[in-house]
Point group: C2
Chain length 203, copies 2
DNA sequence: GTCTATATTCTGATAGAC
DNA sequence: GTCTATCAGAATATAGAC
């Protein structure tokens, strides 16, 4: 019931080209910002002309869409394979630290995933799916640690995003805000009643 | 030592035209978003042609710059004339509620003032000045309430921004995040040691 | 699938008459 | 100060040959 070998090779080649396009777009975004991504330059980076991209993506936004889905899928995979400390308070901090590290490692990626950085772009349902899964996994994980209220999950995301956004907006590259993460996680853990010693004093 | 009356009238007229241009730009931004502001449409809204705008502003970014300065100046004025409750905890909540109301009343304005929403735009020092004054006034006010550490001011801004950003990004028009403001201010007040009863139970 | 060539549209900005 | 006319350039996207 499998397709002919020739078909497999073609599909593989197509997928490889799609990935080349997406990688080139990420490269431009990291170098010059998300808005600087143009079809001409994406094509040029992989030795193509811009119209050829339309053999692989229906539009420019379809490229952003693929980037969005790919990045959330990567984050989901990292979440799944990442071991967590047994102590609830330490575990919540580890989740937040992972999110911070992922975000700070690639700011344009953070802007695409978490801010509305591209005017005309709204992710498709398919690309949105892994981000929904991330939130679901986060909810399950937090529930396992004792955080059962959905509003508490919202609060956790707001606290993390608040530190990250201020850091990136006011002092990119510094740690004036993100350095307060243990303190904020302590506040959160106290608020929702997680046991364990203070994260700040025990370090 | 004053200028001739004719000069005053001319200066007034010039200032009025500048304000017309800025108001038209705000109108477009509120209707279609910040990025939708074009010189052609700004000019059309006040019965002009786009090249005429260059008699009043050096560039499109100079218009954004004036909008930025104007909005922060307005917020600064509102802060100054707004009375605060005597109880520290209530006062901090009132400051945050004012910030939320101002932000939610005009989302594109919030994006211009607090997010990096315009790719090529960086505010000039002159336009930035009132925003620095706002932070200074906030620091002074919080100090008067017992919040003396600069890191605590950073924390306050991160907490407020975190709720606002998540609300606007995920559920504009709702109150799933901003409704948690009293809770978050309670957390902040507890953390920095402000006296007074819980804001949630006393309401 | 990739190419050349081009359509279409829009942008901010400038030149120069009045 | 405002206008007409235009520049110079960018962008996404399409048509059709190969």
């Amino acid at each position: 019931m499998s397709a002919a070998p020739n078909r497999d090779r073609q599909a593989e080649r197509r997928e490889a080209t799609r990935r080349e396009i997406i990688d080139a777009a990420w490269g431009i975004a990291r170098r010059d910002g998300l808005a600087a991504v143009t079809l001409r330059e994406v094509a040029a980076m992989i030795g193509m002309r811009s119209p050829s991209l339309y053999s692989h993506f229906d539009s420019k936004n379809a490229i952003y869409d693929a980037m969005f889905g790919q990045a959330w899928t990567l984050y989901l995979a990292e979440m799944r394979e990442r071991p967590l400390p047994a102590a609830p308070r330490e575990a919540v901090l580890a989740i937040a630290e992972h999110f911070f590290a992922f975000s700070l490692a690639d700011v344009p990626r953070y802007q695409l995933l978490n801010q509305h950085a591209i005017p005309g772009f709204t992710p498709s349902e398919a690309a949105y799916a892994p981000s929904v899964e991330v939130v679901g996994l986060l909810q399950d994980t937090l529930r396992g640690l004792g955080v059962t209220d959905g509003a508490d999950v919202d609060l956790f995301l707001a606290l993390c995003g608040g530190l990250l956004d201020r850091q990136l907006a006011n002092e990119p590259g510094g740690d004036r805000w993100v350095g307060q993460l243990p303190r904020v996680i302590d506040m959160f853990a106290d608020e929702v009643g997680l046991p364990g010693p203070s994260l700040r004093r025990s370090r």
